[in-house]
């Protein structure tokens, strides 16, 4: 089993009309065994910026701590919150620092930029950014998620419809993946 599939995860972020939604599953497992069904994968960096970390749980926790540290330092120095694009570049840089001993994580970044324009992106474990205008996915259920999102997504959805869409896409995908599931956390901003 790959190291990315050790704990199991599913993450998806979608863009709506002046809003975004980010959702994750809730399972924490150790290969075939489920340890917890309330594991938090999505973290708030600031009111308009969320990051979800798929992959190995220990690296997700370490990476999250480093990112919060860097963002707090940025806030102290710049006296403002980081823009999502800037944050994405920061995550990419931090991941590439460990190019030959990487964090086994795939982050999904979702935020509202200038004039509340929604921004989403994902990257691989060494920081290769993938910007998208509609949706991004990560985790063990990513293939199912690509399919579900592609068929369910419509541009410019209102928050309520976006919530429904992302939830249905997440649930139907994790139901086909034994390593992720046990419910979902959805954040709509």
């Amino acid at each position: 089993m790959s190291i990315f599939e050790y704990n199991g995860s599913a993450l998806v972020a979608m863009v709506g009309k002046n809003c975004f939604a980010i959702a994750s599953d809730r399972r924490l497992g150790v290969q075939l065994q489920t340890v917890a069904t309330d594991f938090q994968r999505i973290f708030k960096i600031h009111d308009k910026l969320f990051v979800g970390l798929a992959g190995l749980a220990t690296d997700a926790q370490t990476l999250y701590q480093r990112l919060v540290f860097r963002h707090k330092l940025y806030q102290l120095r710049e006296e403002r919150d980081m823009k999502p694009e800037t944050f994405a570049s920061l995550v990419s840089a931090i991941l590439y620092e460990k190019r030959f001993g990487p964090y086994f994580c795939q982050p999904v970044i979702a935020g509202l930029g200038d004039e509340d324009k929604p921004f989403i992106c994902t990257m691989d474990s060494i920081g290769a950014k993938e910007l998208a205008k509609d949706f991004v996915v990560a985790g063990t259920a990513s293939e199912s998620l690509y399919g579900a999102c592609e068929s369910m997504f419509k541009p410019d959805m209102e928050p309520e419809e976006l919530f429904e869409t992302i939830s249905q896409a997440l649930l139907s995908s994790v139901d086909r993946d034994c390593l992720s599931g046990w419910g979902g956390h959805v954040y709509v901003v």
């Binding site: 220990t58 926790q61 370490t62």
Partner: protein, 204 residues
């Protein structure tokens, strides 16, 4: 393989561990205490490589004590768990410890809590957790019978059910178990469940 499991009750937390120290096919001793009392209100149940286990848990215990000496107040369970995870995470890519940990504690403000810390430093607060081959049986039993806010008697009944399952279904089942409890009155040994009595070693 070593079994450790634990659960949180109404106002206490229990940690149970087997007590055999095994080296390949040889059982060195069957009254090894794998649950360390970190401080007055914390327990650290550990399973894994015996050298790493003994050394790492002692390291954590001494650092928890040092914090109290330096700052005059004890660490909360959450803080101690996060510190432990930090140490494991730092060592992970240099010289990893093969120790799985269940940390139980009682804080006046937040009550009892149990933290599951993997050997690769994945931390999660849980209500019931288990490690080792015994986890397949104890987790299943706890999933079936565990309720929030159990009393000590109910919890120990559940623990005994888990121990019976482990003893009867695991091919290399450990014969003896130790049960430790932490509540508002502190962390202490609750009971032993022995089916093989070790002869006590005469003190030097």
């Amino acid at each position: 393989m070593e079994s450790v499991f634990g659960l949180v009750g109404a106002d206490f937390a229990l940690v149970v561990a087997d007590s055999s120290a095994v080296h390949s096919i040889l059982v060195h001793k069957s009254n090894e205490d794998k649950i360390m009392v970190l401080d007055s209100h914390k327990l650290l149940g550990a399973s894994g490589e015996s050298g790493d286990r003994a050394q790492f848990t002692e390291y954590i215990q001494k650092n928890v004590a040092l914090y109290q000496f330096r700052n005059g107040i004890p660490l909360t369970t959450a803080a101690a768990a996060n510190f432990t995870r930090g140490e494991l995470a730092t060592a992970l890519r240099k010289n990893p410890y093969s120790v799985n940990i269940l940390m139980a504690g009682y804080d006046k403000e937040t009550g009892p809590s149990l933290y599951y810390i993997d050997y690769i430093a994945s931390l999660h607060k849980v209500e019931k957790g288990a490690f080792g081959y015994g986890s397949y049986f104890s987790l299943a039993m706890m999933d079936r019978h565990y309720r929030k806010d159990m009393t000590v008697e109910e919890a120990v009944e559940l623990v005994d059910k888990c121990i019976i399952e482990i003893r009867s279904r695991l091919v290399v089942a450990p014969p003896n178990f130790v049960i430790k409890i932490v509540d508002k009155d502190g962390a202490r040994e609750y009971a032993w469940r022995e089916s093989i009595k070790d002869t006590s070693v005469p003190t030097a």
